[in-house]
C-alpha cells in the first residue's frame, strides 16, 4: 500500500453534522453494473493465512468440534491479550481470544449453560468465576425467577421451544460502520448529547434509557482500549480503506467478544466499505489485489468466530452456526443499485477461500439488480451452495428502509435505527394436537390449556377442529407473549448488548420476532380433515396416537389453493393473536416461518399428525412443503410458498430449495441463466426468501460416509448455511432425505 498519496475527500452532507451513515452511503456510493471479470485471486499472504486456519479447523473437528476453551476469563472486549493467526501475514487483525478458535466463557447469559458446556468437555469454570456468580445474577436466573407455571408447562412440553432464556438472544445488529466513519470519540460525543436530552421528570423508561446510554459510552471507551492493544487508534475515524475494514471488524469483534447470541449478524457493510476502497483505488493508493486481500482477510476472520455451546444447543442450531449475516445488494429508494464492486469482492471470497457457511452471505434480490451481478451470484450458488436470497423488492417498500440488513436468517432490520428481540418459535402442530386432545398434551395427557372441549368420537369435522385450533392458538399466543416479555426484560437487565447498542440510535424501535414451526404440517393436516376423512386412533388414555385417512387430499407445495389457503389463514390468525398482547419496550410483533435445524427436534417431540406424518417424524424446514409431498414439480412447490403473505410473517418466510446441477440445464451458461430466472420468477411472485443448494445427492452421501474428504462442503439449511460435515448424523440424513428437485 502506498502512503504518500492523498485521496479525494468524500462528498459531504448530513452525515457530517449528525450520525447518519446512510446519508454518507447515498452520497458516496458508486454502483457497479459490470461483470465479475475485474476480480483478483487470493494474495500469497491470504493463502498462507488460510492454510494456517484450515490446519486449525481440522484439529478443531478432530477434537470433537472444539479446539480449546479458556476457563479462567469472563470474556469482554479487553479481557484477552491480542491474538494472531500469523502476524506477519495478517492485514486485518483481531481475534475473540488470544488464540485462534479458542472459545471463551460469556456467563451472563447463563452460568449453568457455561458449566454444562464445559462439563461435556471435562472442564469447569475457574473457582473465581464460579464465585463471582455466587453474587452476580445472570439472565437465565432472572428469567426463571419471573416465569409462571403456564410458561414453564408450555416450555417443558415443547410447545414453546428454543427460547433464549438460558442463552443469549442475539439478533441485534450494531451499525458497525459507525466506528469507521466517525471514530469512537465522536460517537461518545453524540451519545453524551443523547444522554443529556433525556431529562425532566423521571419515568422508568427514562431511567432505563439513561442507564443504557451510560453503559454504551463505557462500551465505546472499551473499544478504544481493545483496538489500542492491537496498535490501532479507533478513537478517530478510519483514514483509508484498510482502516475502514479494520475499524468495522473491531466494532464487530467487540460484539462477539462480549455476547454469544445465537445469531450475531454483521449488517450491510460491503458497499459502505466499497466507498473507501474505490477512493483508495482511484488515488492509486491500493491495487485490486490489495482490495481483495482486505476483504478476504476480513471474511476469513468472520469465518473463525466461535462461541462456547453445550451439546443440547446443537439440536436447535445444528452445525455450530454464528450467523455473521452480511446482506449484499438491493436497491436504493432513488432507484440506484447498492451493488458495488465490493459486493462482488465479498462473493469472490467463496472462490479465494473456498465455500463456507459463514459469513452468512445474503443477497438482497431485486429485479433491478444489474445482470452481471445476478449472474455472478447464480454462478457462486452453483459452485458453492453458500448463498441465500431475500426479496428486496418486497422488504424495501413493505418495511420502509433501504438501508437494512438481515439478522440471523431472514429477519429485516434497519441498520442502526431499529432492533429486534428474538422470540424463538412455537410448535404449531403440537398446538393442533392439543386442540384435538381437549387441551391435553398428546404424549402424557397433561392438561396444558383449559377450556378446550373434547372432540366427539369418530371422523374429524373441519369447522369444529379449526375452531378449537384457533382457540388453542389464542392461548398459545397469550402465553408466548408473556414468556417473551420476561425474557427480554431480563436480557436487558442482566446481559445488555452494550457493544451493539452503542452503535445504534439511542432508544430505537423494537420488533418482537415471534416464530412458528410446522406450517406445512398444519396446512396438510387441516386439508386432510377437510377433503378426506380423518379419524383419530386413540390410546387407553383417550389420547391421539395416530390417524386413519380415507381418501386423498390437496397438499401444500403443489400450487393448489385449497391447501395453500389454509397455510395463509393460519399464519394470519396467529400473528393477529400475537399482536393483541403487550410486548416489552412496546415492541411491534412480527412472525417468522422458520425452523433453523430444529425441524428434526420438533418432529421427535411431536406425536402423529392428521396429515399422515408419523410420531417423531421430522418437520419440513421453515415454510417448506413436507418432503416428497410437493409432487407437482419445483415451480409448483415454489409457488405455494410464495403465497404466504409477508405482511403476516414480516420476520421472514424461509424456503430451502435443493437441486442437482444437471436439472438447471446442460451448459454452465444455461445453468446460470436458469437460476437467475428461477429467482426472478420466485421473487416476482412476492416470495420472501430462498436458500439455494445446487448439489448432487451422491456428493452428500459420499460426504456422509467420508467426511474427511469434504472439509468445506457447505449446504444451506433453514436460513443459514453449515459445513455439512459438522452437522450431527441425524441432521445429515435429514438433509439427504429432503426433496431434491432433480426432475423438475
Amino acid at each position: 500500500m502506498k502512503t504518500d498519496v492523498t485521496a479525494v475527500p468524500f462528498e459531504s452532507g448530513e452525515w457530517n453534522k449528525t450520525i447518519d451513515v446512510y446519508d454518507f452511503v447515498v452520497k458516496n456510493i458508486k454502483p457497479y453494473t459490470g461483470d465479475s471479470s475485474f476480480l483478483a485471486g487470493p494474495s500469497a499472504k491470504t493463502t498462507s493465512l488460510w492454510d494456517a486456519c484450515k490446519a486449525e479447523l481440522l484439529k478443531e473437528r478432530a477434537n470433537n468440534g472444539c479446539l480449546a476453551v479458556d476457563t479462567e476469563t469472563i470474556s469482554t472486549m479487553t479481557a484477552f491479550q491480542p491474538g494472531y493467526i500469523k502476524k506477519e501475514d495478517e492485514v486485518i487483525v483481531g481475534l475473540q481470544t488470544d488464540q485462534l478458535l479458542k472459545r471463551s466463557m460469556k456467563p451472563f447469559g447463563g452460568i449453568k449453560l457455561v458449566e454444562s458446556a464445559l462439563k461435556e468437555r471435562g472442564l469447569k469454570p475457574s473457582d473465581r468465576v464460579i464465585d463471582i456468580f455466587n453474587y452476580a445474577k445472570n439472565h437465565n436466573d432472572g428469567v426463571f425467577s419471573a416465569y409462571d407455571s403456564e410458561i414453564r408447562a408450555f416450555r417443558s412440553k415443547h410447545i414453546l421451544t428454543g427460547l433464549p432464556d438460558n442463552y443469549a438472544r442475539g439478533r441485534i445488529i450494531g451499525d458497525f460502520r459507525r466506528l469507521a466513519l466517525y471514530g469512537a470519540d465522536q460517537l461518545i460525543k453524540f451519545k453524551k448529547a443523547d444522554f443529556e436530552k433525556v431529562g425532566g421528570e423521571m419515568t422508568e423508561h427514562k431511567v432505563r434509557l439513561r442507564e443504557e446510554i451510560s453503559i454504551q459510552i463505557g462500551a465505546l471507551k472499551d473499544m478504544i482500549k481493545m483496538a489500542a492493544d492491537y496498535g490501532y487508534d479507533v478513537s478517530r475515524p478510519a483514514a483509508n480503506a484498510l482502516e475502514a475494514v479494520q475499524w468495522v471488524y473491531f466494532a464487530y469483534l467487540a460484539a462477539v467478544k462480549e455476547q454469544d447470541g445465537a445469531a450475531m449478524s454483521l449488517g450491510n457493510v460491503s458497499s459502505f466499505l466499497d466507498i473507501y476502497i474505490e477512493r483508495d483505488l482511484a488515488a492509486g493508493i491500493i491495487t485490486e489485489e490489495e482490495a481483495q486481500e482486505m476483504v478476504d482477510q476480513f471474511v476469513m476472520k468472520l469465518r473463525m468466530v466461535r462461541h462456547l455451546r453445550p451439546g443440547s444447543y446443537d439440536e436447535i442450531f445444528g452445525g455450530d452456526p454464528t450467523w455473521v449475516t452480511e446482506s449484499i445488494g438491493g436497491i436504493l429508494h432513488d432507484g440506484r443499485t447498492k451493488v458495488t464492486k465490493t459486493s462482488f469482492r465479498f462473493l469472490q471470497t467463496l472462490y479465494n477461500l473456498g465455500a463456507s457457511p459463514e459469513p452468512n452471505l445474503t443477497v438482497l434480490w431485486s429485479e433491478q439488480l444489474p445482470e452481471g451481478f445476478k449472474k455472478f451470484c447464480a454462478q457462486a450458488s452453483i459452485d458453492t451452495s453458500s448463498i441465500q436470497y431475500e426479496n428486496d423488492d418486497l422488504m424495501r417498500p413493505n418495511r420502509g428502509s433501504d438501508d437494512y440488513g438481515i439478522a440471523c436468517c431472514v429477519s429485516y432490520q434497519p441498520i442502526g435505527k431499529a432492533i429486534q428481540h428474538f422470540g424463538a418459535r412455537a410448535n404449531l402442530p403440537k398446538a393442533l394436537l392439543i386442540a384435538l386432545n381437549g387441551g391435553r398434551e398428546e404424549h402424557d395427557g397433561v392438561q396444558v390449556i383449559n377450556n378446550i372441549p373434547q372432540l366427539p368420537a369418530g371422523p374429524l369435522d373441519y369447522d369444529m377442529v379449526f375452531d378449537l385450533f384457533k382457540r388453542t392458538m389464542s392461548e398459545l399466543a397469550r402465553v408466548y407473549a408473556k414468556a417473551m416479555f420476561v425474557i427480554h426484560y431480563m436480557h436487558d437487565k442482566y446481559y445488555y448488548e452494550r457493544a451493539q447498542m452503542s452503535l445504534i440510535d439511542s432508544d430505537p424501535h423494537v420488533d418482537i420476532a415471534y416464530g412458528a414451526a410446522g406450517i406445512s404440517i398444519i396446512a396438510d393436516s387441516l386439508s386432510a380433515i377437510k377433503y378426506a376423512k380423518v379419524t383419530p386412533v386413540l390410546n387407553e388414555k383417550g389420547l391421539t396416537v395416530d390417524f386413519t385417512i380415507d381418501g386423498d387430499f390437496p397438499k401444500y407445495g403443489n400450487d393448489d389453493d385449497r391447501a395453500d389457503k389454509i397455510a395463509q389463514e393460519v399464519t394470519h390468525y396467529f400473528i393477529n393473536e400475537l399482536r393483541k398482547h403487550k410486548a416489552y419496550k412496546d415492541a411491534t410483533p412480527t412472525l417468522s416461518l422458520l425452523t433453523i435445524t430444529s425441524n428434526v427436534m420438533y418432529g421427535s417431540n411431536t406425536g402423529a399428525t392428521p396429515d399422515g406424518r408419523k410420531a417423531g417424524e421430522s418437520f419440513a424446514p421453515g415454510a417448506n412443503p413436507m418432503h416428497g409431498r410437493d409432487a407437482s414439480g419445483a415451480i409448483a412447490s415454489l409457488n405455494s410458498v410464495a403465497k404466504l403473505s409477508y405482511s403476516d410473517a414480516q420476520d421472514g418466510i424461509s424456503n430451502t430449495f435443493s437441486m442437482i446441477p444437471k436439472s438447471l440445464g446442460d451448459t454452465r451458461e444455461e445453468q446460470v441463466n436458469n437460476l437467475v430466472n428461477t429467482m426472478n420468477g420466485y421473487f416476482k411472485r412476492m416470495a420472501h426468501h430462498l436458500n439455494v443448494n445446487v448439489l448432487n445427492r451422491e456428493t452428500l452421501m459420499d460426504a456422509y460416509n467420508h467426511p474427511e474428504n469434504y472439509p468445506q462442503l457447505t449446504i444451506r439449511v433453514s436460513g443459514y448455511a453449515v459445513n455439512f460435515v459438522r452437522l450431527s448424523r441425524a441432521h445429515q440424513l435429514e438433509v439427504i432425505a429432503r426433496t431434491f428437485h432433480d426432475h423438475m
Binding site: D666, N674, N680
Partner: protein, 260 residues
C-alpha cells in the same frame, strides 16, 4: 416391431375432442427441451418406433390422459414469471404433430398470453396443417434421427423423407430451429453418415443450435414395465471417444453444437 403401429387411431387423435390434448405427463421446470425454464408437455402417441425410444410409454395413441387446453394454458400462466425472456412452453412427446390442430389452438392461446412456444418433433408430417402450426412455433426442435433412409427405416420403422422436407420448409420460412441427434453406438455413430448429416444442414441459416444427445439406458425400466422386449437393452452409452468424434464432425459444420 415391438409395438403395433396405430395408423387409424393416430389419424383420429388430431380431430377427436378439439378442446382436449392427449398428454402423457407434464414437467414444470424443464431445462433440457429448448431454451430457458420451460413447462414441457409430453404428449401421448407416436408413429415412429425408434429402437432406442426412451419413452415407450408415450407411444400408444390410446393411452395418457385428456387435458383441457385451457387448463394447460392456466398452468403455464402460473409459471410465467419463471420463464424470463427465454423460457416458455415446449410440447414434446410422443409425437406432437399427431395432434397438430389442437396444438395450433394451444400455441395461439399461449401467444395471446405472451408465452413463447417450442415444438419438439420427429417431423413425421409435412402438410398445410403442420405449416400453420409452425407459424405459431417460436422455436422448432427437430429430431433428425438418421440421414440414410434405409437405416432410418430400420431404426424408426419409417422413412426420413418427411422430416427432411419439414426441415427444408422451416428453413424457407426463416424461423428459428434447433436440430437434435441421438447418438447410439452401432446405429447412429457411423462417421460417413454423421458427416453426411452435418453437410445436409450446414448451409441452413435458421439452425441456431445442434444438440447431440448420447444414448443412455435410463429408459430401460419403462420397457420392462410395459412388458416389451427392449431391442437395445445391451447397447452401451457412447464412449467418450465416439462422443468427441461426433462432436468434432458437427463442429466443422455448425457454430453452436452442444453435447448433452
Amino acid at each position: 416391431m415391438y409395438f403395433p403401429l396405430q395408423d387409424i387411431e393416430a389419424a383420429k387423435l388430431n380431430i377427436d375432442d378439439p378442446e382436449h390434448l392427449r398428454i402423457h405427463s407434464l414437467e414444470t421446470f424443464g431445462t433440457h427441451d429448448g431454451p430457458g425454464i420451460r413447462m414441457v408437455i409430453f404428449v401421448q402417441g407416436c408413429q415412429f418406433r425408434c429402437l432406442y425410444c426412451q419413452n415407450p410409454d408415450t407411444l400408444d395413441v390410446r393411452g395418457g390422459t385428456m387435458v383441457e387446453l385451457r387448463e394447460l394454458v392456466n398452468r403455464a400462466i402460473r409459471q410465467k414469471s419463471y420463464f424470463g425472456d427465454t423460457g416458455g412452453v415446449t410440447v414434446s412427446g410422443g409425437e406432437p404433430l399427431l395432434q397438430r390442430s389442437k396444438l395450433l389452438t394451444l400455441f395461439k392461446m399461449l401467444h395471446e398470453e405472451g408465452i413463447n412456444t417450442c415444438l419438439d418433433t420427429n417431423g413425421r408430417l409435412n402438410n398445410a396443417q403442420v405449416h400453420d402450426l409452425l407459424e405459431h412455433t417460436d422455436l422448432l426442435l427437430l429430431d433428425v434421427k438418421h440421414i440414410n433412409d434405409d437405416i432410418h427405416h430400420k431404426l424408426t420403422g419409417l422413412t426420413n423423407r418427411a422430416t427432411l422436407e419439414l426441415a427444408a420448409y422451416r428453413e424457407s420460412t426463416g424461423k428459428r430451429m434447433w436440430l437434435r441427434y441421438v447418438l447410439v453406438p452401432g446405429w447412429t455413430d457411423q462417421e460417413q453418415y454423421l458427416e453426411e448429416w452435418a453437410q445436409h444442414f450446414s448451409d441452413y441459416k435458421t439452425v441456431e443450435r445442434v444438440e447431440i444427445i448420447p444414448f443412455h439406458q435410463l429408459g430401460q425400466h419403462k420397457w420392462k414395465l410395459m412388458n416389451m422386449e427392449y431391442p437395445l437393452k445391451d447397447t452401451p452409452t457412447p464412449s467418450e471417444e465416439i462422443r468427441q468424434m461426433a462432436l468434432g464432425i458437427f463442429n466443422k459444420h455448425f457454430d453452436n453444437v452442444i453435447l448433452k
